[in-house]
């Protein structure tokens, strides 16, 4: 065997992953490292030399500057409204669709469709048309003589409307819950039934404990998605009114591509990353208190 051939044989695996590795280094690691570097600078895309003016102010501003602090608070509000609502709703619908009812497959498909549409621009535009001053929702309330609030121009309502858009797209979480519900052994329900447990008691004392690993999985993935939400507020309200729907992701975009403050935007992105990482770690740590893994038990 020639030297070249033996080299290829020895490094075959490495060569197979080389295209991915190059992509990872160039398009992931490099931007990751450079954004960390820029986050400690006053880098403005159109201020030559600003990338070498080092500062910690970008990080301080996230907590001190009024607009940035507001965006942080709005992001937390958004995540803590959207995630529980979406999980509860998805579990509730999955539970109903787990019963043997007529046309269940149709309902499963119908409830899943909004999720296929994902975070698309078209759906956000539709949402805007539904909730604007002369939109369908207003007209609907008008039929009953109710003067509905101005959902998108009222700072007390706008964020909730953005949340609703994502809650409405509960299908993917629902499908995962449905699979988990199907995995709960029937004999446990029979035993509970014999012990006199009602359906509600069975749900909270049999179903929920057994699907906690799936609840945990959905919680973490939905939390990550919620903190990264962008399309909804960008298209529906552009962050308004009065910054009430300016999430961190939107603020990062505005700073990076409206005022070109890349240093500031990078620092905000890193703060968001650290917050998400911390919340995920807390979620993982909390597992031992509420998540039940059957295999660990045995």
């Amino acid at each position: 065997m020639t030297k070249g051939k033996s080299f290829l044989k020895a490094n075959k695996g490495f060569l197979f992953i080389l295209p991915w590795l190059i992509g990872f280094l160039v398009f992931k690691m490099y931007p990751f490292a450079s954004s960390l570097f820029y986050s400690f600078t006053e880098y403005n895309l159109f201020e030559p030399g600003s990338e070498f003016h080092f500062t910690l102010q970008n990080y301080k501003d996230v907590f001190i500057n009024e607009n940035e602090r507001n965006a942080l608070i709005v992001t937390f509000k958004y995540a803590f409204m959207t995630v529980p609502l979406k999980l509860v709703f998805a579990l509730f619908i999955a539970y109903i669709l787990n019963f043997k009812i007529k046309g269940v497959n149709f309902f499963r498909t119908a409830y899943y469709i909004p999720s296929i549409l994902g975070g698309s621009v078209a759906i956000a535009v539709l949402w805007k048309a539904l909730f604007k001053g002369d939109g369908l929702i207003h007209s609907f309330f008008g039929v009953f003589g109710i003067d509905a609030p101005n959902f998108l121009s009222d700072k007390h309502w706008a964020l909730f409307i953005i949340c609703l858009l994502r809650v409405w797209q509960f299908g993917s979480a629902m499908v995962i819950f449905l699979a988990a519900l199907k995995g709960v052994p029937q004999d446990l329900y029979e035993a509970a039934s014999l012990d006199g447990a009602t359906k509600t008691q069975q749900f909270f004392h049999v179903t929920v404990p057994l699907i906690t690993p799936v609840i945990f999985y959905n919680l973490v993935t939905q939390l990550v998605q919620a903190f990264q939400e962008f399309n909804g507020p960008y298209i529906i309200t552009q962050g308004g009114p009065e910054g009430s729907t300016t999430l961190m992701s939107l603020l990062i975009y505005n700073n990076a591509f409206h005022t070109w403050e890349m240093g500031k935007a990078s620092a905000q992105a890193w703060v968001l990353f650290i917050i998400l990482m911390a919340l995920t770690l807390v979620a993982f740590w909390s597992q031992k208190h509420w998540v039940y893994y059957a295999d660990e038990e045995s």
């Binding site: 190059i22 159109f46 030559p48 607009n67 962050g239 009065e242 939107l250 505005n254 005022t259």
Partner: protein, 441 residues
């Protein structure tokens, strides 16, 4: 060791191969790279605008190519939404089009130190600069004193009114501030709560406020040396003036405009059907309003309002847009040839008409005047601005940190003032701080 070396070489080779495709095909060139580059060149030209501008410009480009078969022109055009950010990134990465349509403020925003656009004085043998007043060309200089762009037109703000709605209310169109305020109350009483004589976005409010302050001081709000000429108290007075218009039912609140769908005024259903009966716009903008109005509505050019102050009318004018040649152009002479064709050549000028406003070039103005191609509306509106002895308009007034519709100070101040989240004192202070931050840079 050998393994590592070979792996590194392979990785590097692959990276170079991959990245070669991402590189610019037009970077790092200069005007002197070829003595006859315009004899056989391929250039790219970009602009933003509406359909009619696109059609006229494409036709002009086609005609230019017929007259200059050695120059191939690739075009890139689109709507304004997202346009600025995309072009700015191209200028920064030296991948911009050879010839590019720019806004006045882009010279200060993106051409710092003359980094983005060539000095067009170097191409004066191709571009006929004698067709422009020197004072106009002086406005288009970059920080190094180079001529960053050729002004296509000069523009200023004036008022346009829906005469049909005013007739319905039984009053004449306003000529003074008092008339306007009286119209607000008349509209409310005679037509209803959802009728307003005027509608202003947050940026419109900032501009009208600057007219008010200028009318009272006799000076541009930001002078040519880049100094803010008003005090904090005067700015408080300015925002009070704006709020007073809203309080007197002259214009809808920002929240009301957001309820309407937060769209441009010419696309707002309440403007289209005549509920919002007045516009404070660039003198060249009337066609986009007229074309959207519902049938049976008459849209007329107004006059600059009197009574804003006792020193002057307070009006400013500015270069509305320019054509510039990017530093990354490989064929700047060919681009200069096209530029001159669009702004000075009778054929190019006739094809473009007034799609970019009333031309700043004397030759172009003469060509269009003789052909009767300048509409009465546009001509009247432009005359209103020119005859009002306009003051200097600083591009700093349009700095992104002030004007940006998402993060700018005008949006923040006038939205929160309108909703009551800011008092007039807070709003004035915020504006004062924002101007000082911009001017200190």
């Amino acid at each position: 060791m050998k393994k590592k070396l070979v792996a590194a070489i392979m990785a590097a080779t692959m990276a170079v191969t991959c990245l070669a495709g991402c590189g610019s095909s037009s970077s790092g060139s200069s005007s002197s790279d070829s003595k006859s580059e315009s004899d056989n060149a391929s250039i790219r030209f970009d602009w933003w605008g509406g359909d009619t501008r696109h059609e006229a410009t494409q036709k002009a480009v086609t005609d230019f190519q017929k007259a200059n078969p050695n120059i191939k022109v690739e075009v890139n055009f689109g709507a304004w939404d997202g346009w600025e950010a995309a072009r700015a990134l191209e200028y920064q990465s030296q991948t911009g089009s050879d010839l590019t349509q720019i806004n006045f403020s882009w010279i200060t925003d993106y051409d710092k130190g003359g980094s983005a656009f060539v000095d067009l004085n170097d191409y004066k043998d191709i571009i006929d600069l004698s067709q422009y007043d020197q004072s106009v060309l002086d406005m288009c200089k970059d920080s190094n004193g180079g001529l960053a762009g050729i002004p296509v037109s000069i523009t200023g703000r004036t008022f346009f009114w829906n005469k049909t709605t005013f007739d319905k209310a039984g009053i004449d169109i306003p000529k003074s501030l008092d008339d306007l305020i009286a119209a607000g109350n008349t509209f409310k009483e005679k037509l209803g709560d959802d009728y307003y004589p005027l509608s202003l976005s947050t940026y419109d409010r900032a501009l009208l406020m600057s007219f008010y302050l200028q009318a009272n001081t006799g000076e541009p709000i930001i002078d040519e040396s880049g100094k803010l000429t008003v005090t904090k108290d005067q700015l408080v007075d300015g925002v009070k003036f704006i709020q007073n218009l809203e309080d007197n039912h002259v214009m809808p609140s920002i929240a009301t405009l957001q309820e309407d769908g937060d769209v441009a005024l010419n696309e707002n259903p309440k403007f289209i059907d005549g509920h919002y009966a007045g516009v404070f716009e660039w003198d060249t903008a009337s066609p986009k309003y007229v074309s959207n109005l519902a049938e049976g509505q008459e849209f007329v050019v107004g006059t600059e309002l009197t009574g804003l102050g006792d020193k002057c009318l307070g009006v400013s004018d500015k270069v509305s847009m320019l054509f510039a040649i990017t530093k990354s152009s490989k064929s700047p002479k060919a681009a200069a040839k096209l530029l001159n064709y669009l702004v000075n050549d009778p054929e190019g000028v006739t094809t473009l008409g007034t799609e970019r406003g009333i031309p700043a070039s004397k030759a172009a103005y003469d060509t269009l005047s003789k052909a009767g191609a300048i509409s009465d509306d546009m001509s009247t509106a432009h005359a209103e601005v020119v005859d009002s002895d306009p003051l200097y308009f600083s591009p700093k007034f349009d700095d992104a940190s002030l004007k940006d519709s998402a993060t700018g100070a005008y949006q923040d101040v006038f939205e929160k003032l309108s909703s009551g989240s800011y008092s007039v004192d807070e709003a004035g202070q915020k504006l004062f701080d924002a101007y000082n931050t911009v001017l200190a840079e």
